[in-house]
Symmetry: C2
Subunit: 149 residues, 2 copies
Amino acid sequence: MQRTRFGEMACSIARTLDVIGEPWSPLILRDVWAGVRRFDHIQADLGISRKVLTERLNHLVEQGVLERLPYDARPRYEYHLTAKGADLVEMLMVMARWGDRWLAGEAGPPVLYRHHACGQIGHVDPRCSHCGEPMHADDVDLLPGPGSA
Amino acid sequence: MQRTRFGEMACSIARTLDVIGEPWSPLILRDVWAGVRRFDHIQADLGISRKVLTERLNHLVEQGVLERLPYDARPRYEYHLTAKGADLVEMLMVMARWGDRWLAGEAGPPVLYRHHACGQIGHVDPRCSHCGEPMHADDVDLLPGPGSA
DNA sequence: ACTCTAGGTTCCGTAAGGGAACCCCACTTG
DNA sequence: CAAGTGGGGTTCCCTTACGGAACCTAGAGT
């Protein structure tokens, strides 16, 4: 037996899960995005086991989502988002938005997002790349694409 | 010991992961969204173990993301997205978009999304709810919100 | 009465996560 | 110059959770 790999499926959601779908990985990305970049800091912030953190960081670096950069003459390293990793942040923002809407309760959202362009507090709003109108569950049809084999 | 629960963290991403972050859950939601709604069909489509599928479906129903509806006089059931669950589809679309961009390779995307409003093939594009301009990793500052206790 | 089917449940063996201890290296301090 | 410190891991053991296959059950059809 071994845990099922999703990467072979002809599905971009499954393939994405193969990169960032393991437990803790999205929270590690959130930390790096938020500026918590060092092994011990991430470990303390999340309360994750050091063993699993090592595995996850290695996997994310292998997948090109994070890069490991020295920050000192001594062997000290920080993890940073690559372009590929920064592009995942929109997924994190959508997840955060959903949690804010459906799970935050009385207390309200734990984190607010201030948008540079307008300077206001806002949240992420998914729109069609073609016409700019909203793009939610019922607004699309799914069709087989070129890679559907 | 037990697997760490994320729900207690003051983080909407962690809380969202507590609902849909277990292995297979996003793929189950994808199936239901795409019209694969019955136990045996989901099981066959994903190749997931029946035991784990049972656990995941129960959890998603408990969390109010799916509902279990009879479709026959016999004890036969289908799973459908609730409003709370349909709202998760935008997360799936963002994940699919990332996989299409970074993982699809030569073959191209396995699935295309046709937007009802404009009738064109498009993809999801995250924008600021306030000003409508793009909202990516570097376009926001994170600030503590009311629920940040 | 027998079979079929959807929708699970049970059981067992293996793999992955949690926790704590340990290790290595490059300084720093006494 | 020996001892300490702190970042960044690795190793070990134990428990939980997954995968796979077999089994169970209610209702319908024949």
